[in-house]
Symmetry: C2
Subunit: 241 residues, 2 copies
């Protein structure tokens, strides 16, 4: 597996380069390349902003020209708003990183180009790319910055590769109650409620009892919940006597 390299083309602010490095490492990506940065390199503001992700900057170049930065790439994406003037496939970040994962699994190196803060990528930069990636922003308020764009691409890479289960039930030192424990809780409530005259009128009692059993079954109670409910009921009964 060859993870993609993220290539910042003519970035202007050191802070944004540092923030991009952090965003990459947040999602486990380390291959950062910087092409023709506006300011000196190494860039002290980039280093300060990157903090724990500073090592990404040590291996980031800088490269002279996009050509040099993509030379060893097998497939290149350009992140930019969709243009009517370039004949090219336009994919979502999700589809792009799906494709990147498939390419990476074959040992291919994927590059992702990110444009400078103000102007974005030029057509000359996009000419190096096989496809365009466009983040599906609100067309009435599309402003997302360089580090945010890097963050979203990194997030999609991780989503495609990390195999995080969509949903897990975390059990804090307990288990779900067994059927028999839930039954006994139902019995305990029924007994106390019977004694309290809750099931009235008598002809409605079977329906009321069934509804309460349905509720206990539906609630996915833990063993701790069941103990706690037994305890509440016992204490209230004790107080009432």
């Amino acid at each position: 597996m060859t993870p993609p390299v993220f290539i910042l083309v003519r970035p202007q602010m050191g802070e944004n380069i540092g923030a991009a490095a952090r965003a990459m490492l947040n999602f486990g990506l380390e291959g950062l390349r910087v092409v023709d940065p506006r300011d000196e390199w190494p860039n002290s503001r980039a280093v300060a902003m990157a903090s724990g992700a500073g090592r990404l900057l040590d291996f980031a170049g800088p490269y002279e020209g996009v050509n040099a930065a993509v030379a060893d790439c097998d497939y290149v994406f350009a992140t930019t708003a969709r243009s009517r003037y370039i004949t090219k496939p336009v994919v979502t970040p999700e589809r792009a990183m799906e494709q990147a994962r498939a390419l990476a699994a074959e040992g291919k190196r994927v590059g992702v180009l990110f444009g400078p803060e103000r102007a974005g990528l030029e057509n000359e930069d996009i000419a190096f790319a096989n496809s365009i990636v466009t983040v599906p922003v609100n067309p009435d308020f599309p402003s997302i910055n360089l580090a945010q764009c890097v963050l979203l691409m990194g997030y999609e890479w991780r989503r495609q590769t990390a195999e995080v289960p969509a949903e897990v039930m975390v059990m804090a030192g307990t288990d779900f109650a067994s059927r028999i424990e839930v039954e006994k809780l139902g019995d305990h409530f029924e007994e106390r409620l019977e004694a309290a005259g809750f099931f009235f009128p008598p002809e409605k009692a079977p329906g009321m009892k069934l509804a309460i059993r349905q509720m206990w079954a539906r609630l996915a109670l833990t063993r701790a919940d069941v103990q706690s409910l037994h305890g509440m009921l016992r204490q209230i009964a004790r107080k009432l006597q």
Copy 2:
């Protein structure tokens, strides 16, 4: 469709509140709520940072206590790292916004809680939530900030609702060439190459010709590409005569 409300609990920096408002509007969300902000309200730094998304702040409260901010919500997510001490479902941002879309489609109001910058949500805050959302970050470098977390949740909301096609082919003022146009291009090349003695030795010629036809078929040439290749070939032939 009732879009979810994003609830910032005890946010500290005005800049982060403004950046969160921007990130929400980038993905078409407008329901921002602020609970017990550290500084004065309205917050001038939040307003400056929000710029085009300033109107979200005008309707953001502030609310006193999480209780007040979630009072009209039918389902609440808490964004936080997974905890071993709370028995609750933990979902990915994707699954959370899938569920939010389903609830929104039934007219239910979904709230998403975001904790303060430094400490994150307290257990007392999480007690208001039905489920926990955890962004699948790199466990060795998990630091993502408040506005980034809001950005990712907003992105997932839009991904679940905007119906953006995963891939489209943008044609800049041209169409794909028809089969017959590609055939004629193949004929033109074959004729010129034949004249140039390219198909040698003769017994290999059929295989070479077929391979070139396969290439033209595979390349997904546009009408403009075909014209351009005819033109190149004609000009080279003219020069050679």
